[in-house]
C-alpha cells in the first residue's frame, strides 16, 4: 500500500499538473504532491527500519538498507526543491523566460522525473531499472530545454545524444546480464532479471559474460553519473536548465545513476571477483575528480562552476566505492548524502543570485553579503561545506576516504589531495568576490525562499558532527552489501 502511494503519487501528480496547467495554485500543488510523496516514503522507510529488507509485489520491488536512504533522500530533496522553485519559477515567468504552457510542462515533468527516479531506486528488476532511467532522461531533456533558447536547445540535444548512446550501452549490458542469469535461473517469468535472485546465484554466473556486461553497464550508467570522459553533457545541461532542475539533476539523478552502477557491481563482483570492477571504478573516479577540479578554474558561469564541482565529487565517490571495504563504502555513502544536500542548496542560492543579478556570469554577481545577506551567506556557507571544511559532513566523508586511500592505495593520494586543493582554490577564489565584492544586487518581486538552503546546510552540519545510530546502521549494512 505504501509502495503504491510512493509510486502512484508522482505519476498522479504528472497527470493532475498537466491538467491544472499554469493556474495560480499549480506551484502549491507541486509542493503538495512532493510532500505527499515524502510522507509515503517515510512510511515505507519506517517499515524497512522495523523489519529489515522488503520484497514487494511478487518480488518486483525491493528495499534494503542501500536504497532506502537514497529513496528518502530523493523524496526529501525533491520536496525542498519544489519549495524553492515556487518563487523562483514565478520570477522567471515575470521575466518572460517561461510562458504558461512551459510552466505546465515544467510542473508535470518534474513530477514524472521524481516518479521515474523513485521507480529506478525501488525496482528489483534490472530491466525496469533501465526503463526508469530512460524515462528519467527523457523527462529531464524536456526540463533542460524549458527556456527554448539556442543554448538550452543545444544543451538538451547534447544531453539526449550522449545519454541516449550511453543508456543504449547499459541496455546491452542488461541483456548480457539476463543472458548469463538465464542459464542458471531459467526463463520462467522474469526471475532472471530480478536483482535479489541474481544476487543469490551471483557466484555461479559466467565470469566472462559478466565482465563484458559490467564494461557496458559502467559506460552506460556512468555516462549519466557524469564520469569523465563521458561528462560533456553535464555542465551544459546544468547551466542551461532552470535552477531547480540543476539542483535535482546534480543532487539526485547522478546519485540514482551511481546506484544503478553499484547494484551491477555487486553482482559482477560475486562472479569475477572485486579486483577488476574496483579498479575500473577507481580509475574512472579519479580521472573524473581531477578533470572536474581542473575545469573549475576556467568557468565564468556560476552554474557551470558547480556542475564541474559535481563531476569532481561524483568522481571522488566513485573512487571510494572502487576502493571498497566497509570504511570507504561507508564514507562514500555518507558523501553521496551530504553532497546531494549541499549541491542542491548551492544551486538554490546560485539560482536566486543569478536571478537577481540578471546574469549567470560570475563577474556580474557581486557583493551579495551586503545587499542580500541571507543569500550571500547561504552561498558562502554552501561553498565552504562543499569544499570539505570542518565541521560540515563532507569533511568527515572526505577525510575517511583519504585515510583509506592512504592505507590501501597510496599512489592515489597525491591525485586526491591535488584535486581537493585545486577545487578549493578554484571555487573559493570565485565565490569570495561574489559574496564580499563591491556591487549591489537588485531585489526581485518575490521573496526567495531560502529556508531549503539553510535546512539542507543545517543537515550537512549535523551529519558532520553526529550521525544518528539508525542512519549509521543503515550505512554500515549497505557498505557490507556493496562489499
Amino acid at each position: 500500500m505504501d509502495l503504491l502511494l510512493v509510486l502512484g503519487i508522482p505519476f498522479a501528480g504528472t497527470l493532475v499538473l498537466a491538467f491544472v496547467g499554469a493556474r495560480r495554485y499549480a506551484a502549491e500543488l507541486n509542493i503538495g504532491f512532493s510532500l505527499a510523496t515524502l510522507l509515503a516514503v517515510a512510511l515505507l522507510a519506517l517499515r524497512v527500519v522495523r523489519s529489515g529488507s522488503l520484497l514487494l509485489w511478487q518480488e518486483q520491488f525491493y528495499l534494503d538498507s542501500f536504497n532506502v536512504f537514497l529513496v528518502v533522500l530523493t523524496a526529501f530533496v525533491g520536496f525542498t526543491t519544489t519549495v524553492f522553485s515556487r518563487p523562483y519559477m514565478r520570477v522567471e515567468a515575470q521575466h518572460g523566460r517561461v510562458n504558461a504552457r512551459r510552466l505546465r510542462l515544467y510542473h508535470s515533468m518534474y513530477q514524472l522525473f521524481m516518479g521515474a527516479m523513485l521507480l529506478a531506486l525501488l525496482t528489483n528488476n534490472m530491466g525496469l531499472l533501465w526503463v526508469a532511467m530512460e524515462a528519467a532522461t527523457l523527462s529531464t531533456i524536456l526540463l533542460v530545454s524549458l527556456y527554448r533558447t539556442k543554448a538550452s536547445l543545444e544543451a538538451s540535444w547534447k544531453y539526449f545524444i550522449l545519454c541516449g548512446v550511453g543508456i543504449a550501452q547499459a541496455l546491452f549490458g542488461t541483456i548480457l546480464l539476463y543472458f548469463a542469469a538465464e542459464h542458471i535461473l531459467g526463463q520462467q517469468g522474469m526471475t532472471a532479471l530480478l536483482w535479489t535472485h541474481l544476487d543469490a546465484v551471483r557466484g555461479q554466473l559466467e565470469p566472462r559474460v559478466l565482465g563484458l556486461a559490467f564494461v557496458f553497464l559502467l559506460i552506460g550508467y556512468g555516462t549519466k553519473v557524469g564520469l569523465a570522459p563521458l561528462h560533456n553533457w553535464l555542465p551544459d545541461a546544468h547551466a542551461e536548465g532552470p535552477a531547480p532542475v540543476s539542483a535535482v539533476l546534480s543532487g539526485l539523478l547522478l546519485n540514482v545513476a551511481l546506484y544503478a552502477v553499484l547494484r551491477c557491481k555487486v553482482l559482477v563482483e560475486g562472479s569475477i571477483g572485486a579486483a577488476l570492477p574496483g579498479r575500473m571504478l577507481m580509475v574512472f573516479g579519479l580521472f573524473s575528480a581531477v578533470l572536474g577540479a581542473l575545469f573549475l578554474w576556467r568557468q565564468r558561469d556560476i552554474k557551470r562552476l558547480f556542475a564541474y564541482s559535481s563531476i569532481e565529487h561524483m568522481g571522488i565517490i566513485t573512487f571510494a566505492f572502487g576502493l571498497g571495504g566497509p570504511i570507504a563504502n561507508f564514507a562514500a555513502l555518507l558523501h553521496m548524502t551530504v553532497h546531494s544536500l549541499t549541491k542542491s542548496s548551492l544551486f538554490f542560492t546560485a539560482g536566486h543570485a543569478s536571478q537577481s543579478a540578471g546574469t549567470q556570469r560570475m563577474d556580474g554577481i557581486r557583493g551579495l553579503a551586503s545587499s542580500r545577506p541571507a543569500l550571500g551567506w547561504g552561498l558562502m556557507l554552501g561553498s565552504v561545506a562543499i569544499l570539505g571544511m570542518p565541521p560540515f559532513g563532507i569533511f568527515a566523508s572526505e577525510f575517511l576516504i583519504l585515510t583509506t586511500a592512504i592505507q590501501e592505495h597510496p599512489w592515489a593520494t597525491p591525485f586526491l589531495l591535488l584535486t581537493l586543493g585545486i577545487a578549493f582554490a578554484g571555487i573559493f577564489s570565485k565565490v569570495q568576490p561574489m559574496v564580499f565584492g563591491d556591487g549591489t544586487a537588485p531585489k526581485v518581486q518575490h521573496a526567495p525562499s531560502l529556508a531549503p538552503v539553510f535546512v539542507h546546510l543545517g543537515m550537512v552540519l549535523a551529519l558532520g558532527l553526529y550521525i544518528p545510530p539508525a542512519l549509521a546502521a543503515c550505512y554500515n549494512a549497505a557498505a557490507r552489501l556493496i562489499g
Binding site: N125, G127, L128, W130, V131, E134, A135, L138, I141, L142, S145, R148, T149, K150, A151, L153, E154, A155, S156, W157, K158, F160, I161, G164, V165, A168, L171, F172, T174, I175, L176, Y178, F179, E182, H183, Q187, G189, M190, L193, E206, R208, V209, L212, D236, A239, E240, F295, R298
Partner: protein
C-alpha cells in the same frame, strides 16, 4: 532436423542482411533514404523474430515480432517521413562525409564486434547464437553514424538503428527480454521520437536549419 537447419541458415542470411543495411546506412547521404533503410531494417528484424518464434515454438516472441512490425516498420518510419515533409527536409544530405573512410572504420568495428561476441556466442544455446556478433556490429555501426553525421535527423535515425541492434542482440542471445521490459523499451523509444520531433521544430525555429554545426556554441574556451 532438416527444418531447424534451414531456419538457422535463413536466420544467418537475415543477420547478414541486417549488417548490409547498416553499411548501406553508412554509405547514404540523403536523409530520406536513411528512413527507408531504417524501415527495411525493422522488416528484417520482424522476419527473423518470427522465424525464431516459429523454429523454437515461442509464443511470446510472436508478440514482440508484432510489436516490431507495428512500431519499427510502420509507425516510426511514417512519423519520420511526416516529420521531414513538415520540415521540408526531404532533400537534406550530408555532402561532407568521407564515406570510404567511415566504411573502413566500420569494417574494423565489425571485426572488433565479432571478437567481443565470441565468448558469448560460445556460451549461448540459442539457434541464433552465431548472430550475436552481427548484433553488436549493428550497434557499433549505428553508434558511429551518430558520431560522424551532422544532421539532427540522421543522428536520430542512428539512435533508432542502435535500438534495432539491441533488440536483435536480445533476440539472438536469449530469445528476447521479458515482455514487460520490451514494452517499456518500446514506449521509451516512441516517447523519445515524439520529443525529438518537437525538438526539430524548436531547433529549426531557433537556428533556421537542422544542421548541427550551429549547435557548437557551448564549449569550454
Amino acid at each position: 532436423m532438416h527444418d531447424a537447419d534451414l531456419i538457422a541458415q535463413l536466420l544467418r542470411l537475415l543477420a547478414a542482411g541486417l549488417l548490409l543495411i547498416s553499411f548501406a546506412m553508412l554509405s547514404r547521404r540523403r536523409t530520406q533514404r536513411l528512413i527507408t533503410l531504417y524501415a527495411w531494417q525493422g522488416a528484417i528484424l520482424f522476419l527473423s523474430t518470427c522465424l525464431v518464434a516459429y523454429g523454437e515454438g515461442l509464443r511470446e516472441l510472436y508478440y514482440s515480432a508484432a510489436l516490431t512490425l507495428i512500431l519499427k516498420v510502420i509507425l516510426l518510419p511514417w512519423i519520420l517521413h511526416r516529420l521531414i515533409h513538415r520540415l521540408g527536409a526531404q532533400w537534406d544530405s550530408e555532402p561532407l562525409v568521407n564515406i570510404p573512410a567511415t566504411m573502413l572504420v566500420g569494417l574494423v568495428l565489425v571485426i572488433f564486434a565479432f571478437g567481443l561476441a565470441q565468448p558469448i556466442s560460445m556460451l549461448a544455446t540459442t539457434i541464433t547464437r552465431h548472430t550475436i556478433g552481427i548484433a553488436l556490429a549493428v550497434i557499433l555501426l549505428s553508434f558511429m553514424m551518430m558520431i560522424t553525421r551532422r544532421k539532427a535527423m540522421t543522428q536520430v535515425i542512428g539512435f533508432l538503428a542502435m535500438e534495432n541492434g539491441l533488440f536483435f542482440a536480445a533476440t539472438s542471445t536469449t530469445y528476447g527480454m521479458p515482455m514487460v521490459i520490451e514494452l517499456g523499451i518500446a514506449l521509451d523509444m516512441l516517447v523519445a521520437v515524439f520529443i525529438l520531433g518537437i525538438f526539430f521544430f524548436q531547433i529549426r525555429e531557433q537556428f533556421d536549419s537542422l544542421d548541427l554545426h550551429h549547435l557548437e556554441k557551448l564549449r569550454e574556451d
